[in-house]
Amino acid sequence: MTVRRPLLGRLRRYPSAVAGLVVILFLVGMAIYTVIAIPYSQVLQDWRAGEHWRMNPANAGPVWTDRLFGGNAPPTLTISSDAANVEAAGFEGGRQVRIPLTFDFAYDDFPSELTLFLGVRGTDRPAFVEATWHRPDGSEMRLGAHRISADDRIAISQDRALEGRLGRVPHIGLFATDPGTTARPDVLQGTYRLTLDAVLFDEEATLDAALVAFGRVHGIAGTDHLRRDLMVALLWGTPVALAFGILAAVGTTVTTLVIAAAGVWFGGLIDAAIQRLTEVTMILPILPVLVMVGTLYSTSIWLMLGVVIALGIFSASIKMYRAMLLPIRNAPYIEAARAYGASDARIVLRYMIPRILPVLIPGFVTLIPTYVFLEASLAVLGLGDPVLPTWGKILNDAQMQGALYNGFYYWVVAPAALLMLTGLGFALFGFALDRIFNPRLRSA
């Protein structure tokens, strides 16, 4: 307690320390919120399942960046038959249904895709559906007839025949002011209607219909090529990154410190063995070894963590710790401890290590982002965890899909910004701690 108080007080005098601490606390808060809001098992399932995201647009940017730059791109519009004014008339052995799906379209950009989701309820027999497109200028267009089974979708955007008639892709042609000619058409704003005329072959049968005009923007973070909401991955990347960074930093620093202290204390053969092992580990390149393990065994993030720690145990910092600990070995207070009969373990753990701990804490804090970036590096190499969404995996997906080349900047910028924020947060804090714990640096 007596130590902590002045430390906090001194920290307050460094704005960078305060900023770093605020960032770290923000990230920790975000991680805790994520783990509670989206449970681990759910995120695993969601991130894998394609069907879960079928109502999302593919490669849509964030809403707020679009609005920030003065854009007015459409979000995803879902027009369901639940709210529509359904007219029905029965006939012998069936029903005739007319569903008008009406919606206002007042955006400056075309939808990215147009799909009709249909479901026939109450019968096993397929239904016939004919769709007609009514535009705000009064013109109308028949979109063709379809035979619909229990659950079906009609991808209007991929209707080649319709594309031929319109002269361009349907989701643009159906919304364009002048069907056909110009290279860059304008959006015709106003009220559109899609009328579905269906024949159902059962008197009790009903038809569920939903017209989805997939947008160009989606949510806070946008979506990827598989329609997945990037927000889920950005959020879940936080606890994963923090856990990986902190566990790896703790794992390597603590074990290394204990081994270095034991080597210095016992000396002789043990010390020599530790030194030689350190030299062997020094020449083992961490990233290539991780790449090898990832390729040959598993890319599970926990295995990677294990390998990082295993390679970090006898890392080069043993040499540094050893140099720091050697003078302490003969300090009078250690001699006093020996005189009263303290065990070897007690001397190493309670007398030697605590002595150099303050000097190491700043280094420890700045080590965390290194490992966060290491995890991202592995993911960028395509060796990310197979199931968990992480920041590095988003970057990898983005790179694989040529996000920069296609202009999906948000896909790269968001995870990169979070990585940078994490890096800066810990580094700012660590550097400030360094100046507090090592007074010789405090000259500036």
């Binding site: 580990t281 390149p285 040959l296 982002p369 590096s377 395509g382 920069l404 940078m420 550097f431 000259s443």
Partner: protein, 372 residues
């Protein structure tokens, strides 16, 4: 450390021959130690790569599947004949890859060949000249890596030392404080800045190519070829530079600050020696060993960073090779890459020892005393 004053005196008293002899002994000892270290490291790599023979098992399944796939389309032979044919082909393949011997024997064989840099044949990949030899493939990529990282590291090293010297002279100034404030930006590795540099300078303001090493097709005459390489190098070098320059300047500045308050420097100042001379003779000269150490340690760190930076910039070096090998699951190339990296690191460590011994006489005379 305590008996230091006598030792250099003793060294100076001896003839030059003795000096050279001691130095030779020292270098030889370090070399032997390092070869043994590399051997253990490489052997560990081999064991990890083939832990419990799992990889052999995988490769066996792979071979079986490949052969079966090749033979499947063949009409007109009976199932029994086909099976016999498959077995025969699999046996041949196993023989070709030496999979029939126990791992422990093969591991020593692997080790011997790895130490001699005979890294075997790649399974899928080949060099640009069409060779399947792993060491050919690697040697072909090495110059590109050396060019990129050599340039970037030397640049970072000299710029940071010079800037740090200048800053330590007027610490507390606005520039000095800016550098201290910017130091945390080095938390992100080079490839990370690379992504943004590509975004800005290749797409938003297209003034540099987004990747690759030369223009396609490569220019004919050497001068424009070199210019093209330079143009392609600009962004990756800049990425490495940005990611390490500030923390480098920061740590050197601190280092020089501490050393410029030593008594002998104060003494030199009191004598009225010019500032330049003080810097060169009283600050730089005695601090040279740690400077060299940190330079080589930085090299060690950057060897691994290379993989992703090259990948991001599509630079045809060792890193990209390793990345491609991951894609092909080409085990010999991956293991070969690790072995080569281990050799490069070992070489760096050896160079470190060697330079250290040249610069710091204490190391030569008492090899165990003044450690790294």
């Amino acid at each position: 450390m305590v008996n230091l004053p006598q030792e250099p005196a003793q060294g100076q008293a001896g003839p030059d021959m003795r000096q050279a002899y001691l130095f030779g002994i020292f270098v030889a000892r370090r070399l032997v130690a390092l070869v043994i270290t590399v051997m253990i490291g490489v052997y560990l790599t081999i064991v990890v790569a083939n832990m419990g023979g799992q990889v052999d098992e995988l490769r066996l399944i792979q071979i079986r599947a490949d052969v079966a796939e090749e033979v499947r389309g063949d009409p007109g032979i009976s199932p029994a004949e086909r099976q016999a044919f498959i077995d025969q082909r699999v046996a041949l393949e196993i023989d070709r890859l030496n999979l029939d011997q126990p791992f422990i024997w093969r591991s020593f064989d692997y080790l011997r060949r790895a130490m001699l840099l005979d890294l075997g044949r790649a399974e899928q990949m080949h060099s640009d000249h069409g060779s399947r030899q792993v060491n050919r493939i690697i040697v072909e990529r090495l110059p590109a890596t050396l060019l990129l990282f050599g340039t970037a590291n030397l640049l970072v090293f000299f710029v940071s030392i010079l800037a740090a010297l200048a800053l330590s002279r007027r610490y507390g100034s606005a520039i000095d404080r800016a550098v201290v404030a910017l130091a945390p930006t080095s938390a992100a590795p080079g490839w990370f800045y690379g992504i943004f540099l590509i975004l800005i300078f290749a797409f938003v303001i297209p003034i540099a190519p987004p990747g690759g090493m030369v223009a396609v097709p490569p220019p004919e005459d050497p001068l424009s070829y070199a210019l093209s390489v330079l143009r392609h190098m600009a962004l990756p070098v800049l990425a490495i530079f940005i990611s390490s320059i500030f923390v480098s300047i920061y740590s050197w500045r601190t280092f020089f600050l501490i050393h410029s308050s030593e008594d002998y420097v104060e003494m030199a100042r009191a004598k009225g020696l010019p500032e330049r001379m003080i810097e060169r003779r009283y600050i730089l000269r005695p601090t040279l060993p740690p400077i060299i150490t940190s330079f080589l340690l930085m090299l060690i760190g950057l060897w691994s960073g290379a993989i992703i930076l090259e990948q991001v910039f599509n630079w045809p070096g060792l890193g990209t090779l390793l990345f491609q090998a991951i894609g092909h699951r080409d085990t010999p190339v991956i293991i070969g890459g690790v072995v080569i990296f281990a050799y490069l690191l070992a070489l760096t460590v050896f160079l470190l020892d060697f330079l250290y011994a040249l610069l710091d006489p204490r190391v030569r005379i008492n090899p165990g005393g003044v450690g790294r």
